[in-house]
Symmetry: C2
Subunit: 378 residues, 2 copies
């Protein structure tokens, strides 16, 4: 049976969750704005969405992953219909003889962190307090389950015109390539379900408590004092001290250049930043949907799988890779990757070299801790 919910996501929590998901998205995972509006409306109509602690799942309990597949730019250009989400959940449940008891996010990052809550609100299924990446990555087989040898099959994808596709044979990589090709036919965006997992699989593979973390990040950003001389630093120090989360401000400046193209269903490009007074080395950040590597001058200061988040200097809201514009005043924050995504096996799949960068992964470290409590602590 399904364990009692650890907490409920109410409509008042949705903006915090969305803010946190975009922080954890490393610039990707899709826009949260439209999805958050839709989710608030759904929760008002149907009530809060129960969230389950993965530690309390029965060993043989069955869950599966859901999310949108496509180029982030299409996520807020093209509304989704409830139909495609219902088609995906119904079709996957039919394949699992209706035994699935909860949904989880393929990736907590960006709009895909909201995807299981949308599906949960529509279907009544609870959402698991975990995800498959602890952030967002360009490929669905970048999830921890694939890295640890679990199968993506069956994989289901649905479009807004009632199209339903089930992939029931092939490798995880071929399933990813097939879903991406399907998403292009369906308008560079579709809803998808994959990686059915047992409770034991979840505990062995998934990144735990990430929806809780996203909601906490969002709430902290809302509460951090705007009077603080440096709210981003205050926030990151507070997370490090209170939650042991390695989070660090990497840059403060403005956007001086953006390159962006949509290719093969992804957004590729790079962002150039300069300090406000124009002094010091420039920062460049390269992305494939997600920000993957940040360099200060010639020095690499952060790489995948660590999270690289570009936030608006005033609102501290994360800006997705396809939302970066010339002249924006931004700060860049690094967040250390969850351990499960930084193992040797994981780095072969999601480390800098896996994306073609000839550098090794060096985990983000904290700056020297400050003695006194920082100003503007939430």
């Amino acid at each position: 049976m399904t364990p009692a919910p650890a907490w409920y996501l109410d409509h008042g929590d949705v903006d915090d969750l969305a803010t946190g998901c975009s922080w954890l998205g490393s610039g990707g995972g899709g826009d949260t704005h439209v999805l958050a509006l839709t989710l608030k409306q759904l929760i008002r109509e149907r009530g809060p969405v129960p969230v389950i602690d993965p530690r309390r799942l029965a060993p043989d309990a069955l869950v599966f992953n859901v999310g949108f597949v496509g180029a982030p730019v299409t996520m807020h250009e093209k509304l989704f219909t409830h139909g495609e989400i219902l088609d995906v959940v119904r079709t996957m449940q039919a394949r699992l003889q209706g035994r699935a008891t909860a949904l989880m996010a393929t990736e907590i990052g960006g709009g895909n962190g909201l995807a299981p809550f949308l599906a949960g609100a529509l279907t009544g299924l609870p959402v698991l307090d975990a995800d498959g990446m602890g952030r967002a990555f360009p490929l669905s087989d970048h999830v921890s389950y694939a890295i640890q040898g679990r199968s993506a099959l069956p994989t289901v994808a649905a479009g807004e015109q009632g199209e339903i596709v089930v992939i029931e044979g092939g490798t995880n990589r071929q399933a990813e390539r097939l879903v991406r090709a399907v998403s292009v036919v369906l308008g560079s965006k579709c809803f998808s379900a994959d990686y059915p997992l047992s409770g034991d699989d979840v505990r062995a593979c998934a990144v735990l408590d990430t929806p809780s973390l996203a909601r906490l990040i969002g709430a902290s950003i809302r509460r951090v004092s705007r009077e603080s001389a440096d709210p981003a630093s205050a926030l990151t120090r507070w997370f490090a001290e209170e939650h042991g989360l390695v989070m660090r401000k990497l840059f403060d400046g403005k956007v001086t250049g953006v390159e962006h193209e949509v290719r093969e269903g992804w957004g590729f490009g790079s962002v150039s930043l300069q300090s406000l007074d124009g002094t010091g080395p420039a920062m460049t950040i390269a992305f494939q949907n997600e920000f993957l590597i940040a360099r200060l001058g010639e020095e690499t200061v952060a790489t995948t799988p660590d999270i690289i988040t570009v936030v608006d200097s005033w609102t501290l809201k994360a800006i997705p890779s396809d939302g970066i514009r010339y002249g924006q005043r931004v700060q860049v924050v690094g967040i250390q990757s969850p351990q499960v995504m930084a193992t040797e096996a994981a780095l072969r799949v999601v480390g800098p070299r896996a994306f073609g960068y000839a550098v090794d992964y060096r985990p983000l470290s904290l700056p020297p801790a400050s003695a006194e409590a920082p100003a503007g602590t939430p």
Copy 2:
């Protein structure tokens, strides 16, 4: 129960069937060479393939269509595995609770006319003496079943690496677009099954007796006297007189130009022909996988859905659109479309305007009948 076979395809018949399928392919449907070799081998190992008269199918008997999807050029560049055929038939049978009693060709034209015999030899299922086009067309929803409102679902596609995709929602056109996108991921070629039909559906929609016709065309070409001054004309006259098949020689000459590109999973292009003595107007034939329209100078002499076949002047073997080369000595033969593909509804889908040509379909007519028996009659 399954009716007694009307005839059996033995390995000695395969070359005739293949020759006839390429004549009916209008330049498309995929190369027959490799498939014929494989089919002969399979029949030697497993025995002849039974062929069933569709008129004897029980009203509620269940059958489905099979064929390869992709660019013809890949069909003979890339061998198929038995596995992809078995995966497709098994997956479709599972969806139909194992009730399908026969296979049929989506299109009799080209290699796809051999596809159900390959699948039949591998699975033991008999093949129906009918197909969905009476020729070949670029899109799977150009079949008569789609034109008459039957559903392509479920549609199954499989690749040589064990990939299995099932499309169970969406329009016939979307199913076609999805299978084509899937085929590109699978190397611009996959095996596919679609349009499950009842015996009554087959009699209402399908083009009947086309495998028999293909085999007869092949046998006649083998038997036609090479001493005949004009074997192609002798052959077409004989078919008109003995079988009431409107078939006519349209041109005799050599290839003076070829344009060909593979785009979005199809082969597009055009062929230019000139008479051997260089006199008279040139013929140009445009194709999208299949030859669609033939012009003599400015005059349109044949259009889709009528079949336009380019044959080698010596062997009378049809040359697929991607096999046309500069300098080849060829004759062009027109074959009138089966009635079911030339209705008003069908012309909206497969008539010249449907492919962007601003001309109306004018059925191919016979030349004035000759009094005496033609030389070199088979």
